[in-house]
């Protein structure tokens, strides 16, 4: 794994790799180099299998992380390539020409995170959701609980009690709590 990264690092800008296991490594790369790196990995280094492509929302840092997981079966190595995108108007580079199946991933990312992949086939077609107008739901700022509370009714009559508060009410209601 180290040798492969060593071969890549001269020509590309690689972040500090995280060697998670002997057969799994993560490394951050630049968006404008991802296609070149993936192509080289696929054609030269035996990483022929695109395991998955997904995104992570680092909303606090205003970034989306795209994770491209590629696998070399012969060598039993998996490499996770991270690409960080500006969360505002996030746009990724399509790789459907490298792996046709990537089009599905990209279509999902478009729908669930709102990340654009210009040129990816059928990328703007609805994938899972129908008639969704809210925020892309897998973004961290989409609040599923608030959504479900607005959309559905809670069962009536449910009430719970905190043990500590309940004991205070029943056992020592008049004790002066705190020296404030």
């Amino acid at each position: 794994m180290r040798e492969i990264l060593y071969r890549l690092k001269d020509r590309y800008h690689l972040g500090t790799p995280t060697f998670q296991r002997t057969d799994l490594c993560f490394v951050t790369v630049r968006r404008d180099e991802i296609r070149a790196i993936l192509t080289e990995l696929r054609d030269m280094e035996g990483f022929t299998h695109l395991t998955f492509l997904t995104a992570v929302d680092w909303i606090e840092e205003q970034l989306f992380q795209l994770t491209y997981m590629v696998n070399n079966r012969e060598a039993n190595l998996s490499l996770g390539l991270r690409v960080l995108l500006d969360r505002e108007d996030a746009t990724g580079d399509t790789i459907h020409d490298l792996w046709p199946t990537a089009a599905t991933y990209q279509r999902e990312l478009r729908e669930m995170f709102g990340i654009k992949f210009p040129g990816s086939p059928r990328v703007d077609e609805e994938f899972i959701l129908e008639g969704w107008t809210d925020l892309p739901p897998y973004r961290r700022d989409f609040d599923t609980l608030a959504y479900s509370q607005q959309t559905y009714n809670d069962r009536p009559g449910r009430v719970t009690h905190d043990p500590k508060t309940h004991m205070q009410k029943t056992l020592y209601p008049s004790y002066p709590k705190g020296a404030k």
Binding site: H49, T51, D57, M69, S78, T101, P121, I128, T144
Partner: protein, 392 residues
């Protein structure tokens, strides 16, 4: 023998974005919804077919009927609270979710699992594979009108569910593989009862073989039909039996052994034809291999030992920032969990990598054009896909 060799040149070529532009007004083409409730479809999904006569010119997969936003729900739950919901991502083989999630959490939290737990986990995964293959065998037979095999397989699956029930305390969603180990040891006398199930299974499988692989009808409907060119495997991320039926001996259990698979002996079966028949035969052989593996596990596993390690207080369990990917070989191919943690008590992101994601979407859409409408059901069932993996 019936031969179906359509001439693609009579249809317009798909556009640059992969879309086929046809004029329905001409009456030459017809849109057909295959699913979501149709006996020849797996689970709650549908394929939107465009047909011309009995030939399919385009197929588009539609999912979303099962979407509950699991990955998002997991982000709202503590690490232990995720445990009961992961299994729901896949009904027929839920245990893979439990294993992958548990292993991912264990890796990022630095938790060692007792050896005994690893053996029981392996046993559970093989039992799950057994059940999943039973459904696949029944499914493909059903899609081809061999309903009786479906009934046999359902029965055998049911008595395996009895074993699941006595081992895990539940039939479908077992919720048994906790981060840190498994919930319990094998119950008393489990091995003997399991052996009964396996023998019953073998009897029914022998019967099923007569009805499927030795049946002229089955052969006619499946041989040379739905062929996947092995050259497509890598481009479409094809794994599991679908790849093995095309001569690629891909199997995570061998390629990248996890749990106790390095201590078990088993063969990775392959076929060359890469058609529906080959895929079904690979599953059949792998199912027999699974029966052998269950026997082997029960024989080899330690008789004593802890099954669960002490966890940190799960009510406020925080895991340092990190990410990992855990994979295994499910009955459908490579199954994996990508877990990202951010140092809080909740996962930052959980992504489920199910083999059906590629098989039922890009691959199926690629394979469908040019097939006969009567083969669509068999084709898609032969890919052995479970829609919840697509729309987690």
């Amino acid at each position: 023998m019936f031969s179906f060799k359509p001439d693609r040149s009579q249809y317009p070529a798909p556009g640059p974005d992969g879309k086929l532009e046809v004029d329905l007004e001409t009456g030459k083409y017809l849109k057909l919804w295959h699913g979501p409730n149709h006996p020849g479809i797996t689970g709650n999904m549908s394929v939107e077919l465009t047909v011309c006569g009995d030939e399919v010119v385009e197929g588009k997969t539609h999912v979303g009927y099962l979407h509950r936003g699991f990955e998002k729900l997991m982000e709202r739950r503590t690490f232990i609270q995720v445990f009961p919901i992961v299994c729901r991502v896949c009904v027929p083989e839920p245990d893979f979710n439990e294993y992958c999630y548990a292993a991912a959490v264990e890796e990022l939290a630095g938790i060692e699992v007792p050896e005994m737990a690893s053996w029981i986990r392996t046993l559970i995964l093989e039992m799950g594979r057994f059940n999943s293959y039973m459904m696949a065998m029944g499914g493909i037979s059903g899609a081809l009108g061999l309903g009786v095999v479906g009934q046999w397989m359902t029965y055998v699956r049911d008595i395996m569910l009895d074993r699941f029930e006595e081992l895990t305390g539940a039939r479908i969603y077992h919720m048994f593989i906790l981060p840190g180990g498994v919930r319990a040891h094998l119950p008393e006398g489990f091995e003997a009862r399991m052996e009964e199930v396996l023998q019953t299974a073998e009897r029914y499988l022998a019967d099923a073989e007569n009805l499927m692989f030795k049946s002229s009808v089955f052969k006619t409907r499946t041989q040379g039909v739905g062929v996947i060119d092995p050259a497509l495997f890598e481009r479409f991320g094809v794994t599991g039996p679908n790849a093995r039926a095309g001569g690629v001996a891909k199997d995570v259990r061998k390629d990248s052994p996890y749990l106790v698979y390095d201590q078990l002996e088993f063969t990775v079966h392959t076929e060359e034809a890469s058609d529906i028949y080959a895929r079904t035969l690979v599953r059949y052989k792998d199912l027999l291999e699974t029966i052998q593996l269950i026997r082997q596990i029960l024989r080899k596993m330690p008789k004593e030992g802890e099954v669960m390690t002490n966890l940190p207080n799960v009510l406020h369990w925080k895991i340092p920032r990190g990410e990992t990917y855990i994979k295994g070989e499910s009955s459908r191919g490579e199954y994996g969990y990508y877990l990202v943690t951010d140092g809080t008590g909740y996962p930052r992101r959980v992504n489920v990598r199910g083999p059906s994601y590629t098989h039922a979407m890009a691959l199926l859409e690629h394979l469908i054009p040019g097939t006969n409408i009567s083969d669509v059901a068999a084709l898609m069932v032969s890919l052995h896909t479970y829609p919840p993996e697509i729309e987690r």
